[in-house]
Subunit: 309 residues, 2 copies
């Protein structure tokens, strides 16, 4: 809320009955903070080291959760590339305001200089959408969407659905990571990745493979200087921030991992969180929206209370 | 489109009839670039110097268009503050990732140090919404909205409407500028301003006065380091970027102005532009969205072909 922090009200307007006042406000009257404080360990899940990439930059670490349920080929290729240190010493190539930050091999087009792919594939079949399946989690949001007939969350990822076509796909929300491609649908590999840093570019949905989501460190990718070339590409090599390394968490010694827990998106606690954001309850808000868009739902992340194993 | 620029296709798939092929593709088949190239001078309007603020930072100039049709009291107060050089030497106080960049007086709460308001008001009546009126332009978008029953553009500003209540309001899209307030609805003045730098925070709509829109220089405000304090406030004074000056364009000698033209939002050309973004026609896109959200519509800005005046 855009008031100064000095003046920020901390009072919380609880729309609860007297009998409940000392225990817990009903779900409809709770703030997000109250929902999180009332959560139990079962409401959280640890990041799976096999599905976690660390993008280490001079400024710190970006933690990316892969979405193998939606992009299994890309996830597998990225695990291979990380294992082979494909990205180490490559660079951030492009930052286009209100769109994407993109990184990869500056010499990708130069046969003599291009980074070797090793055991990784140079191209992959498109993974722009997949079939809806019974074993695929889906927590539907109640307020609709401009672009798709249904939207919600699946294993912590924002997704859209077309039940008539039997298809579902990851949605381009802030922080989502995708695999750049050329004009051919099968020209992507994960060797060039982008992350959304602005308003949801949902027109990209079903046109390109999203591979996961940044769960920590977005500010490192979103606050970079914008490139001044076409599409936000940096015009001079020295403007590009270097990538120290990209590693699969499973390949990193446990002491060097970043243990994180994410709020599950298939629980009553998550539904209560969504409701807390549809109708803000703190004193600052005068007209609760009563609605929420897919990309406006926050996905809480925390350090584990106890060290991870 | 997240492909490298080196590989970026420039071919345009025109869905036009042979008879039209050499003249002009029909509106449904044109790209945004083609729509803009086919525009006439009447499709553009110059910024009014009385409604234009220049926020000058070390990195360059941010140009803000005020929206006096929706926030006349705030626009008038900001003109007064700019005229009196209220903002000169103040600072950017807060950058919260995927939310807002905010600037104003770091000493606002310190009676001894706070910047004097001069003839400007310290507080203003809320201007969170206004009555729908016949003389208020409104170009409605065809694809709906999660938060409001109608959305579209009014004099270049993204707006939402509730026809049953007879109300309309500016919408919190990327680049929109608002006036911070405390918990009381009448506690804002324009002395503390914020700009949206992420996913549309539409829950703020009707809760705070939007006063205008950044039409040039957003990258200067969106690429700042995020503050590490609560709500993204900078924790140390030396982290804050200083504001060189804020001026009303009308107060600036013509030679020092930044002449810009904006595409009008009440013309067939604008409708064609919206259509060109609902259904992308270049070869890269395989599945045109067929829809567009309010905050996804680009609002073209250009330097005038001939010098202003």
């Amino acid at each position: 809320m855009p008031a100064t922090i000095r003046r920020l009200a901390v009072a919380v307007a609880l729309a609860c009955t007297p009998a409940l006042a000392l225990a817990q406000a009903p779900a409809k009257g709770r703030t997000m903070q109250q929902v999180i404080e009332a959560s139990t360990p079962a409401d959280w899940r640890a990041l799976d080291p096999q599905d976690t990439l660390y993008l280490d930059l001079a400024g710190g670490r970006v933690v990316i959760e892969l979405a193998p349920g939606y992009a299994p080929l890309h996830a597998a290729n990225l695990r291979t590339m990380a294992h082979e240190h494909y990205f180490d010493g490559l660079a951030i190539l492009r930052v286009q305001d209100n769109f994407v930050t993109q990184w990869g091999d500056p010499d990708a087009e130069d046969k003599d200089k291009a980074r070797a792919f090793g055991k990784a594939s140079r191209t992959l079949a498109p993974e722009f959408e997949r079939a809806i399946a019974k074993d695929l989690p889906f927590t539907r949001l109640p307020d609709g969407d401009v672009y798709a007939s249904e939207v919600g969350f699946s294993d912590g990822m924002p997704v859209a659905r077309d039940p008539r076509a039997g298809k579902t796909w990851l949605a381009h929300c802030y922080g989502m990571v995708g695999a750049g491609r050329d004009n051919g649908v099968d020209t992507g590999s994960g060797a060039e990745l982008y992350v959304v840093i602005g308003q949801e570019p949902r027109q990209l949905d079903r046109n390109i493979a999203l591979v996961g989501r940044v769960v920590q460190g977005m500010e490192l990718l979103a606050s970079l200087p914008r490139g001044t070339g076409a599409l936000g590409f940096y015009e001079k090599p020295e403007q590009r921030m270097s990538i120290r390394s990209v590693r699969l968490a499973a390949d990193v010694p446990e002491a060097e991992r970043t243990p994180l827990e994410l709020l599950r998106t298939d629980t009553p606690t998550f539904s209560a969180l969504v409701e807390s954001r549809r109708n803000r309850r703190d004193d600052w808000y005068k007209v609760p929206a009563g609605k929420i868009g897919l990309c406006n739902v926050p996905l809480p992340v925390r350090k584990p209370a106890t060290p991870a194993h």
